[in-house]
């Protein structure tokens, strides 16, 4: 089976670490999408109301913010050369989006 072996591209990580990290961001964005959909369902369940629409809009903004963070990080990982480490502010922003969604959820439950 020597036909398939080629000298490895020196710019490529054989462990595919940047790709795995990119997919981890994608998975997390997907989880965030599911939570946002559940929030919208909960807020608009008994017919549209002003507070329900406001919470839905807020959750959509938070989801968009998370998507933007993921997109920025994915772009940074895709650049040639060794990928830069995640910035603490970036991680904190993603966590704050999650916490804000949880606060919206608590407001909807109560």
């Amino acid at each position: 089976m020597s036909t398939g072996t080629r000298p490895p591209d020196p710019g490529r990580d054989p462990g595919l670490q940047p790709e795995r990290t990119r997919l981890a961001w994608r998975r997390t964005t997907l989880a965030c999408t599911v939570v946002t959909a559940l929030a919208a369902r909960s807020a608009l369940h008994g017919g549209p109301s002003a507070p329900g629409l406001a919470v839905t809009a807020l959750c959509c903004v938070l989801w968009a913010a998370f998507l933007l963070l993921a997109q920025l990080r994915i772009r940074a990982l895709a650049r040639p050369g060794p990928p830069p480490a995640l910035a603490a502010r970036h991680a904190t922003a993603a966590v704050l989006c999650t916490v804000a969604v949880a606060v919206c959820a608590a407001a909807l439950v109560l």
């Binding site: 997390t28 502010r89 959820a105």
Partner: protein, 130 residues
């Protein structure tokens, strides 16, 4: 607790993390980032669980429903805050060449999830029996 407050400052100040020690192999940093994201997904799943209890168990008594939902949402918030805290501490330990921080959090979280699950099973069965 004082450590926690000092770490909160680090969440917003990447330069301070980078001042210490030497930059580790980028693969270790990316692995730490993926662990952080996995904890963040766990937090999102707990929040989704809170929504699910609220919406898909409408016949539950009001107090139980709100209590269980808030417990899951609280666990989600705790889990996401701890995710960034643990990420910062691991990043710093790797830069300094120290051991990675040990943590009781996974055990506490699994006990909490077990408790919520047991309560949910009991409440749902009680609801059927009534």
């Amino acid at each position: 607790m004082i450590d926690f407050v000092r770490n909160v400052r680090l969440w917003f100040a990447p330069e301070e993390v980078r001042k210490e020690g030497s930059t580790p192999d980028y693969r270790f940093s990316l692995a730490n980032e993926r662990t952080f994201l996995a904890w963040l997904r766990t937090a999102l799943a707990l929040i989704a669980g809170g929504f699910a209890v609220d919406q898909f168990l409408p016949r539950l008594p009001q107090g139980w429903r709100i209590g269980l939902a808030l417990a899951l949402l609280g666990a989600g918030v705790l889990c996401s805050l701890r995710a960034v805290d643990h990420w910062v501490r691991c990043e710093r330990a790797m830069r300094r060449g120290e051991d990675l921080p040990a943590s009781r959090f996974p055990a506490v979280l699994s006990l909490l999830v077990t408790a919520v699950a047991v309560v949910m099973v009991v409440v749902v069965f009680a609801g059927w029996a009534a």
